[in-house]
Amino acid sequence: MRTVIALVFLFVFSSCAFAQTTEERLEKLEKALKSQEQTIQELKALQRTVKKQEQTIEEQRKLIEKLTAKEKQAEPSGPPATAEAPQPVVAEVQQQVEELKEQVNSVAEAQQKKLPSEFNPAIGLVGETIFSYRSKDSKATGSDRPGGWDVNQRSVELNIAASVDPFAKGYAVLNASADPITGEATLGVEEAAIQTTSLPDNLELKAGRFFGEFGRLAYIHDHELPFVNRPLVLDQYIGGESRTDGAQLNWLLPIEHYVSLTAGVGDGFGSVPNDVNDNSNGNFRNFGGLSFFGRGSTSFDLTPDLSLEPGISGLLNPKTTDRGGVLAQPNGTPVTLPQFPGSNLSQTERSLEGVDLTLSWKPLSSNQFQSIIWGTEVLHSGNSYDVTPTSGGAKFSPFISSVDSYGMYTYLTYKWSREWSGGFLFQWVEDSWNNADRTFSYSPYITWALSHWNQLRLQYTYTEPNAVSGLRPDSAVYLQWDWIIGSHSHGWQQR
């Protein structure tokens, strides 16, 4: 009973409090309105003053002209000494008018900012739907996507960005990506970072969760890729996007040639949790368990229309033992060394080195209508694994296996109008735990950009794993539809 009475009291008092709050809000609004009206009146008064001052100046000018004329008539050969006397007065009045004008302008400008939303950050939303057909199921392809017909709302991405203060900007990318199996969307923080804007000596520090600078396409969001899917080598060696929880320092060299160097450290590197690399973010780890990464890039203008951008990147995760976990393929199947059936692998060390090259032909006069981009990236992956037996599997003593693998992608995109472009992507990758397991992939694609914010892409992909992989060749057709609403701007990395 006491509880009931207490609840009733609580309800009554909270209602009163709410009512009071509404009244207070109304009062505040009325006050704000009155204050605005007053300001407008003041503005009008200021405008009247400015007009009066301008009239005064005009009168003064006329007076000066008359005086000067009289002086000249009286003393035609003498210097106009007296005529100069009123000039300081005119200058003073002119200055007053200028000051008043400035005041009026600033007040008028302030009055324009009357909505509370003026202080909100830039917000944009990106949607990405993939319609696809795959000739084989995920068991045959090793992919996380099913075979047959499929519609996948791959992502709904909310971008938010604004200045934090005069020294930094902040941004966040929240992504609701669909689960490949269930289709259920889960909201996650893809990026949320602070980035300095005023460090001395050409330095820029970024901290938080972000896509670390590695390679050419690893730190670009899916919808900004020139083709439908992230290259296999980035998926396998990095784990998709180069997401990390950490910090990176970028330095623009103070020389006449463009050279940018970046070094960073993060808790994990790669965005797909429990993937083959298992270096995702989260959990405590020792110092050696952190991921250290870096990138250097430069550019050469070969002609006004042709430029070459080479870059090198490195990633080292010296000790991953404490990350633990058994490696699994994207479709959930545990990774096993073929020569030791039933064995489990867990990663102990990870290193990646990459070289990338982008050759761009963009005729200055028609760069929005015509361009050719040729991009290539080659990665070397060096991993060490603890190989352990499992019950029911082959019997052997645990050992460490080191694997060096290589992978690459190269693509050429030709844009022949503002709306249309097409290209071809070739990929080749050795598996990061078994370099005899190789996959080749060929993808022609065509893109129709109805506008900057609405784009359709059709892509065919033929994937051909070799016999070692135990997987089967697969044909896939994708139709990707991307759209953007709200604020959207391409950063330096997406150029």
């Binding site: 040639h257 070094a263 951008e309 090198i312 490195g314 080292l316 200055l364």
Partner: protein, 317 residues
């Protein structure tokens, strides 16, 4: 672990050493000015004279909204004392990213080195909504005011103010240069106003909405754009509607900016009987337009020639 860590370190060190192998910047003697477009570069050279070193990001042939973001711009902007821009969001597609990459706090928005030449200009066509239904709309209004030579004087004034603020010791030099240039420009404006008399009331269309300020200044009628909306190519229906309205309203000139493809403007000109003329939107856009004054000369000459061609065509009929 160690060999791999050393390998990563070696790669980064080697990259640093190799890439650092470049000449160090010369001692700054002149004011380093970067402009987004070539007309602003011309004004900066005229006002700054020998005291400034001016670099324009655009060469003149680019679209004003589509200057390619080249990494080679970054070191130039990094060392700049002043960044001079058109404003009204004209450079929204390339400048914000370049500014961020430049890591030059002196020229960031709000700093004295960020010189927005639109200060003091009353914009035309300020949109009521910035919804993308209206295309790549400019939220602050049409930014192509510099094609109007009278409004260009305001840009010159803003550049003068920025130079004086940066280097007050040379105010007298800047003042002399500015006055000389404005006098020259005023004389040309008077000349142009006489020349354009036959163009009064002449209706024309262009690919992009570059010309409303220019048309108003010289008494011409700006009829509309070939593109559907800013930044969006025309659809067949739009072209059809434009052709029929041009015929009904006797629009006699199709003005194509050299940055845009010729095919559609040519088709419209052929179907409406209008004269197609290709004219620059900034100095360097076509030959013999190295300076702003030469460019305006060329624009007026081109329009007069088009008008003459129209008269001749009518006479033939």
């Amino acid at each position: 672990m160690k060999p791999k860590f050393m390998r990563l370190l070696s790669i980064l060190t080697l990259a640093g050493v190799l890439l650092c192998w470049g000449p160090m910047p010369a001692q700054a003697a002149k004011i380093k000015v970067v402009t987004t477009l070539t007309d602003l570069a011309d004004f900066a050279r005229e006002v700054g004279g020998d005291l400034v070193e001016v670099h324009s990001l655009a060469t003149g042939v680019e679209d004003t909204h589509g200057v390619p973001m080249k990494p080679s711009f970054v070191p130039i902007m990094n060392r700049a004392d002043l960044l001079i821009l058109v404003g009204f969001d004209c450079e929204h597609a390339f400048l914000p990213a370049l500014l961020e990459a430049s890591k030059n706090p002196r020229i960031q928005m709000g700093k004295s080195g960020y010189v927005d030449c639109s200060k003091g200009i009353v914009p035309r066509d300020v949109p009521k909504s910035t919804d993308h239904y209206q295309g790549d709309v400019h939220p602050y209004g049409n930014p192509h005011y510099i094609l109007d030579p009278v409004l260009a004087k305001t840009a010159v004034g803003n550049i003068y103010n920025a130079l004086v603020e940066f280097d007050p010791q040379h105010q007298a030099d800047f003042s002399r240069n500015r006055d000389a240039y404005l006098a020259k420009l005023d004389a040309k404006i008077a000349e142009w106003k006489k020349e354009v008399v036959p163009l009064k009331g002449l209706k024309f269309v262009s690919y992009h909405e570059h010309w409303p300020y220019f048309a108003e200044r010289f008494g011409m009628v700006y009829f509309g754009t070939i593109e559907l909306k800013p930044g969006i190519d025309p659809t067949p229906r739009h072209i059809e509607e434009l052709i029929s309205s041009m015929k009904a309203e006797h629009v006699s000139i199709v003005l194509r900016e050299p940055q845009f493809p010729e095919k559609v403007p040519k088709q419209i000109a052929e179907q409406t009987g209008a004269t197609l003329v290709t004219l620059p939107i900034m100095p360097g856009g076509i030959p013999n337009t190295e300076t702003y004054i030469k460019m305006e000369d060329e624009i007026i000459r081109g329009l007069l020639a088009a008008e003459q061609a129209q008269k001749a065509a009518h006479a033939m009929k």
